[in-house]
């Protein structure tokens, strides 16, 4: 390559870099704006032009978690997410392990079926859950929402864990089998310790999924089990007079997710593409 074209390449790379900086900044404006709003007093929030420099206050962040029921909603969210993960991840891991060990001609159709389930509109599931919940008097209880979330979580968990189990060499199970281990012993003693990091990743993803879920939470919960997304939607969606307060609530809901995401960073692509890269 000639020196000139090398210089040209360098320049293009710089242009791309600057372009990316600008794009990223514009792309993050809604987030930055929400953070600023949550730190503003109303007199700074309702101005033309928008106020960028002001005296920040944490008043609303404190108020939203102390004077409203947000702590209660957070507890609901945590109970429901934890319940979902505790059911979904163990069951899904067992199935995923078996899936990674049976012949491809049997596992292929099962994986395709799981992928097809992804296609089902959630509405189609929400209606029967709502009708049955009404019959069984279970609307506004934890178990109903947990079961609904397990239903949408399970295919995803199996899919993700399947990828992790494929990476654990089959020789290990075969050696265990030759040594006389049953399937269960081989899984528990040999495979499970190796699969633990993968299970943590799957658990965190399921946790995110359930924490963020809105539709089922909206129709299946009531005053006793309302989760954070439902609470903030009704709180912040209506009028903008309590703008700073809702913004503070929204930011608060977002923070734990950002932390989980930083933990998951290395696995993020894989969680989202389980299947794209590996086929």
């Amino acid at each position: 390559m000639s020196a000139q074209s090398h210089l040209g390449r360098q320049r293009t790379t710089w242009l791309i870099f600057i372009g990316m900086c600008v794009f990223t900044f514009i792309n993050l404006t809604p987030l930055i704006w929400a953070v600023l709003t949550s730190l503003k007093d109303p007199r700074d929030a309702f101005t033309i032009p928008p106020t960028i420099i002001f005296e920040p206050t944490l008043k609303y962040h404190i108020q939203v978690w102390t004077e409203n029921d947000f702590v209660f909603y957070l507890m609901n969210s945590l109970i429901i997410s934890a319940g979902t993960v505790l059911i979904s991840v163990p069951a899904g891991s067992l199935a995923a392990y078996a899936l990674s060990r049976i012949p491809r001609r049997s596992s292929g159709p099962i994986l395709t079926a799981l992928f097809t389930i992804r296609m089902f509109p959630h509405m189609l599931l929400a209606i029967p859950f709502f009708v049955m919940g009404t019959f069984l008097n279970m609307i506004d209880t934890y178990p109903l929402l947990i079961l609904a979330l397990v239903a949408i979580n399970q295919p995803f968990t199996i899919w993700l864990m399947h990828g992790f189990f494929l990476e654990i060499p089959r020789d290990l199970d075969e050696a265990a089998a030759i040594d006389g281990c049953s399937n269960w012993q081989a899984f528990r003693i040999v495979i499970l310790p190796l699969a633990r990091p993968g299970m943590t990743v799957a658990a965190l993803f399921s946790l995110l999924l359930s924490y963020n879920e809105f539709l089922f939470a909206l129709v299946l919960t009531g005053t006793d089990t309302k989760t954070l997304p439902v609470a903030i939607a009704s709180f912040g969606g209506e009028d903008i007079s309590s703008w700073s307060l809702s913004a503070a609530g929204a930011i608060g809901i977002m923070l734990p997710i950002v932390v989980v995401m930083l933990l998951l960073q290395r696995h993020l692509v894989r969680g989202l593409t389980a299947g794209a890269v590996k086929g």
Binding site: A95, I257, L272
Partner: protein, 291 residues
């Protein structure tokens, strides 16, 4: 070994048992319900055969919501694909600083969808929202982002793009990183321009990932609910009422659960047909165009 292999099937029991109870049974029940005139408020249930389906398919509101869904689906997936692909290529080119950009660009995607919708709603709020306040500073009269039928659709498309472009970007970026670099280098040595390298080397190699991400996005747009519910609630009027929002209105506002189930089944059939067509035509275009 054969019996050891057979023992593995027991491992499926808990998961498939769960799926049967919480997924297949409710789905079957929904299909069953779709043949009844069932108003949940009074609890009266009468078998009506296909009447719900016929009612729906002859109704203007359904076709209106179907068109809205298609416009929003294709609009947002087009934006997401073009921007996402461009970003993925940029990340691929930058490699050293790609990591920090990918984390920052990914933020909108991991935020709770409802919260993301609120952020955007506050941006677009008339008068005091960031966009309007900025435009008004320069004496530009802003359009009514969420209140006019056309702009509300545009806003919903952009909102969907804001949340989901990062996903498309990440999938394509991961696929790019998996590419065989010798192919690209060979093309460059042969004197191919960047555009030709992109078109004849990179894109064909990415086809599986592209099909995957477009399919996933299309089926998700069809069932996506949170963003539109918070942003416009289907309004103004029914300007942004997608099939999903309409199903929600039918089932949970009017409590017509039979008819709502029928609409759910129709949605499922539409999505399935759409995906089949897309997969087939993309596959064909790629195989046919290459030879």
């Amino acid at each position: 070994m054969a019996s050891w292999q057979r023992g593995l099937w027991l491992f499926f029991l808990p998961s498939f048992g769960l799926l049967a109870v919480v997924l297949l049974w409710p789905l079957g029940y929904a299909i069953f319900l779709s043949f009844f005139d069932y108003y949940l408020g009074s609890g009266e249930r009468t078998f009506v055969g296909f009447a719900n389906y016929i009612d729906l398919l002859t109704e203007a509101r359904l076709w209106n919501s179907m068109w809205t869904t298609i416009i929003i689906a294709f609009g947002s997936v087009a934006v997401e694909f073009v921007v996402g692909f461009a970003l993925a290529l940029a990340l691929y080119r930058l490699h050293s600083s790609a990591k920090i950009f990918s984390v920052l660009l990914f933020l909108p995607h991991i935020v709770t969808p409802v919260v993301a919708a609120l952020f955007l709603k506050w941006m677009l709020a008339s008068n005091w929202g960031f966009v309007d306040a900025t435009l008004l500073t320069f004496n530009i009269e802003p359009p009514d982002w969420l209140g006019s039928p056309v702009w509300a659709k545009v806003s919903v498309i952009l909102a969907d793009a804001w949340v989901f472009t990062p996903l498309v970007m990440m999938v394509l970026y991961a696929a790019l990183q998996g590419l065989d670099t010798t192919l690209i280098e060979a093309a460059q040595i042969d004197g191919a321009s960047s555009w030709n390298t992109l078109r004849h080397v990179i894109v064909p190699a990415l086809i599986p990932a592209i099909i995957f991400v477009i399919s996933i996005r299309l089926m998700d747009v069809f069932r996506f609910f949170d963003l539109i519910y918070v942003l416009t609630g289907g309004g103004p009027g029914t300007a942004t009422e997608t099939i999903t929002i309409y199903t929600y209105q039918l089932g949970f506002r009017m409590l017509e659960v039979g008819k709502a189930s029928a609409l759910g089944v129709i949605t499922l059939i539409v999505v399935a047909m759409l995906l089949l067509t897309i997969n087939r035509s993309l596959n064909k275009a790629y195989r046919g165009g290459d030879r």
